[in-house]
Subunit: 193 residues, 2 copies
Amino acid sequence: MFNAQGEPHVTTNHIADELEISPGNLYYHFRNKDDIIEQLFARYEERMDAALATPSERLPGLEDIWLQLHLIFECIWDYRFLYRDLVEILSRNRRIRLRFARILKRADDSAHAVMRGMGQAGVMRATADELAATATNILVIATFWLNYAAARGDKDEQIAIRRGIVQVMMLVAPFLRDAERVHLNTLTQAYLD
Amino acid sequence: MFNAQGEPHVTTNHIADELEISPGNLYYHFRNKDDIIEQLFARYEERMDAALATPSERLPGLEDIWLQLHLIFECIWDYRFLYRDLVEILSRNRRIRLRFARILKRADDSAHAVMRGMGQAGVMRATADELAATATNILVIATFWLNYAAARGDKDEQIAIRRGIVQVMMLVAPFLRDAERVHLNTLTQAYLD
């Protein structure tokens, strides 16, 4: 309901109606709407933490990064109500605000780790400042891409997710070795067609 | 009031209270809250259109782009209520949705024009696909940077705006000629200190 109608438009009464229970019965399980959001946030958090885990046994290739971005974008899509009204939801609830900040920190660490791995594998070259700026831009694009697609009027969510992944990959592309840049270009074309 | 409290929290009754007039008197001037938002949007639109105008008499240098980004970010800051609840506001009002889509299109054209100008001046080199992807990323970063800063808990708006400009410039940096890349780096350091 939050995803379909937007979190601000869904009241606890709507939720009770949809569940065919009384508002009193709903309040027996949840203190208020923010309590429901916190429960949903816990599930989101678990899934995002899993998506952000970096495999450490070997250096990541372009396909690994692509797959990881897919998991991240699908998680954002499934909990898009959080991202649609992000500032509003965070401004209301201090606990969710701190937990979301932790996820951003973790995503930043993960982006750094993946790019450092590519540096070690010799397929990427960037200064520390370039790495930091690119990691931040990756986070902003991933966090707000679906909002941007909605503002632009994109209808198909699968195409929107694919375009988002390509936009993130294009942030990294200029720092890749020529061979990987060509490889990325082939992957991108195949993916968007 | 929209900027300070968030648009969803401000009702026409609050606005009438603040103006020390009756709700009936307010309705004499504005049909409803969305009518007020449309009037504000018209002012925002005029200012953003001016900020997006590209000077055509000469090729733009890094300082010109920096100044233009400043005008754009300050306009976004002054009308931040629009951006804070962007998807919500656009989903409610078809006219504003179409007008915002036009601004995005205009911003995309402007980003393309500036980067093409830098290509003609020989200070930037990028393929058509790289230009298009970079223009889109510039739009997403500019549109949502202040939301990202809020989600991250950044307090000082002037620092947030400066960081946003630097993040946009870092999208263009990898495509610059070495001399301009060094120049940009000097500008960035001076700007953030």
